[in-house]
Amino acid sequence: MRQDWFATLKESALTAAVAAALMLPLIGLYTSTKAGGLAIGTRWTELAIGVVLIFLGRFALLRIQNGDRLIPLIGGAIVMIVGFLLPLPNGLLTVCCIAGGAIVFLRCCLAWVTGNLGLEAEKQPIAARTQAFLKKYGLWLGLAVLVFAIIFPWLPFVDRRFIDLATLVLIYVMLGWGLNIVVGLAGLLDLGYVAFYAIGAYSFALLSSNYDMSFWACLPVAAMLAAFLGILLGFPVLRLRGDYLAIVTLGFGEMIRIILINWVDFTKGPDGISGIPKPTFFGLSFSRRPPEDTESFHQFFDLQYASVDRIIFLFYVVLGLALLTNAFILRIRKLPIGRAWEALREDEIACRSLGLNPTNIKLSAFALGAMFGGLAGAVFAARQSFISPESFTFIESAIILAIVVLGGMGSQVGVAIAAVLLIGLPEWFRELQEYRMLAFGALMVAIMVWRPRGLLSFREPTLRLHDDDSGLSR
């Protein structure tokens, strides 16, 4: 036992030493702009607190691994309280203090619960149980979520900002489902998906501002243009595999963005396009005072004007499109083309030997994936009313890919959950604006380390010979 403590202490000290080396140049020291150039400043207190925190955290986690519950539990609670009460010199430290303490605290509680119930938290049974549960109640659960989504804007605690956020989450759900065709089903790693999103958004923005086309007329055009671009991109990269494909698609995404920035005559460059119209309800707009000779929604239905109507309507539009996307993908997955995508992911050589044409299969995956990206882009432009190349950076592609992989590749529900987690949660903690991206990145790493196969990673066969589970082996 004494040996044990000593080893733990040594390990924690080592970790703390590494952390000190890591933090010394960038946290211990900082540069600030002064009159004659840059000056250097020091933050030794911050450094010291950071190193101590890391020491404590590592120590606590190691103790938990060794079966100790009580000491880390109390320690975590104390650190958390200290974080709340003590005015630390830096906001980030406060956040780290509270979050670190909370993590240790919760980890202890978890260990306590699972340990005492005799369920050593093995991952396999949990996955199997989730699967069984979803199989049994999946339909009801889906219906419940659907009903919730439909009544969502009318719930008492839901305000304007919340609906707007839900719309954004739904856009990312669509993007995730679209990319899922390419990455999850066909197994083609695409790091430039944002290109199609951008094409969709810009098609709508440009068509509406130059030719006065309405949202509903632009929607299919945007989808078609994006799909066409998907095929265009698909051709040169058909022979490439894995990471070569990844870098070329990444380059393609960047190229589109650079063109959007520099082709000022056409795209208005970095300034972006503003004044993009909102979708109309069968030609009825949602403005308070519609232009001459037209009626607006509230006038037609003889309602009180409410500016939130427009946002609610957009939410329903996106919800409808997302449901359509979902139905389409669920259906096509069970068609020959869907199975061919998956077969291609599993083994391209075997596919060729069975007479499947890999070119067509890959291009169809690219085209359909791109199409949904384009749809989502058009909706995004309508939500924002303003778009600029800044919205279509590589990080967007990374986020969409993260949604797909975190959700569990190929799983529609998983993608939706991951979108809520990655887009909804960080937006919700807007108070922590500065630390949002930091937390976002950390969350990506943490989920992957915790569940490398994604949140919901099981696959239901598209066809079954037997109805019951007797034939299933896991």
């Binding site: 590494v18 960038l26 540069t31 870098i247 070329v248 520099n262 990145g441 380390v449």
Partner: protein, 304 residues
């Protein structure tokens, strides 16, 4: 002609820097078969460490410049190497044997974390360093255009070439290099034969990170301007260079880096500076269409 020569000099300098970063990508790819997406961020951290070390030494004053350079180089390499090691330990090791995409996502997550960490700790503003080494040789003059080969450019090329030579020796001649190549071929077999795979992979990350640190220091000195975002574009360019040269091949990374540097320099010199990245990516696509495994990469044999 003079203009051409100047662009050539600039291109080679830029290419040397890309090459240094590209080696890190290619080595990691060779040994674990994965894109180390956070490598660009490691380069950025190297640049910041170099900047801060320069400022400290500058405040102290009185130390001759070559010594300052050497000290900064060593500090930068050591501290950045710790980042490389920690990156592998946190984001890659737990995911060994998991689907490749999982590691890719965790690397992208790490890259976001590092970028924001530096932004938060050092501020989002662009940092400008007073030039440490100024002047150069005037090689050629015609009219009012002078071709200049600056001392800084000479230093960059010399340091790069000697480091690459050192590297080449490590990979080709030492036991470590053999262990690395063994792990590349078959990790399980290597560990059965008594090679410490974890250690070998860690060392690979450390070596890659220290080269990136050198590149970071060079960029800090050469351009004198850095911010927390420099890692992204440099990383993508260097990765493009590694793929162009054939990923997994160290001479390929050097060649690819040089090519990307030259393409950029000439494109911005003769055509338009805005589209230089488009040019680099287009050439990459063209090369890959005709040689799917890059210029010097071993073609992947389809085993059936």
């Amino acid at each position: 002609m003079e203009y051409f020569l100047q662009q050539l000099i600039n291109g080679v300098t830029l290419g040397a820097i890309y090459g240094l970063i590209a080696i890190g990508y290619t080595m990691v790819y060779g040994i674990i078969g994965m894109i180390n997406f956070a490598h660009g961020e490691i380069f950025m951290i190297g640049a910041f460490v170099a900047l801060i070390s320069f400022l400290i030494l500058g405040v102290t004053g009185g130390i001759p410049i070559p010594l300052v350079l050497l000290i900064v180089l060593l500090i930068g390499m050591c501290l950045t190497a710790v980042y490389g090691w920690a990156l592998e330990r946190v984001a890659y090791r737990p995911l060994r044997g998991s689907p490749r995409l999982a590691a890719l996502i965790s690397a992208i997550g790490m890259s976001i974390v590092l970028q924001n960490y530096v932004q938060l700790s050092q501020g989002a503003r662009v940092k400008t360093l007073q030039p440490v080494i100024e002047g150069g040789f005037k090689i050629m003059q015609s009219g009012n255009f002078t071709v200049v080969l600056s001392y800084m450019q000479i230093i960059i090329v010399i340091v790069t070439v000697s480091l690459m030579a050192a590297f080449w020796t490590i990979i080709a001649k030492t036991a470590l290099g053999r262990a690395q190549r063994a792990c590349e071929q078959d990790r399980t077999m290597a560990s059965l034969l008594g090679i410490d795979v974890d250690k070998t992979i860690s060392i690979t990350f450390i070596l890659g990170a220290s080269l990136a640190a050198v590149a970071g220091m060079m960029v800090t000195l050469y351009y004198g301007v850095i911010d927390f975002y420099v890692g992204f574009l440099a990383g993508i360019k260097a990765f493009t260079a590694a793929v162009l040269g054939g990923i997994g091949s160290i001479p390929g990374a050097m060649l690819g880096g040089l090519l990307i540097g030259l393409i950029e320099a000439f494109w911005s010199g003769y055509f338009s500076i805005e589209y230089k990245d488009v040019a680099a990516f287009s050439i990459l696509v063209l090369v890959l269409v005709f040689r799917p495994s890059g210029l010097l990469g071993r073609p992947e044999v389809e085993k059936v």
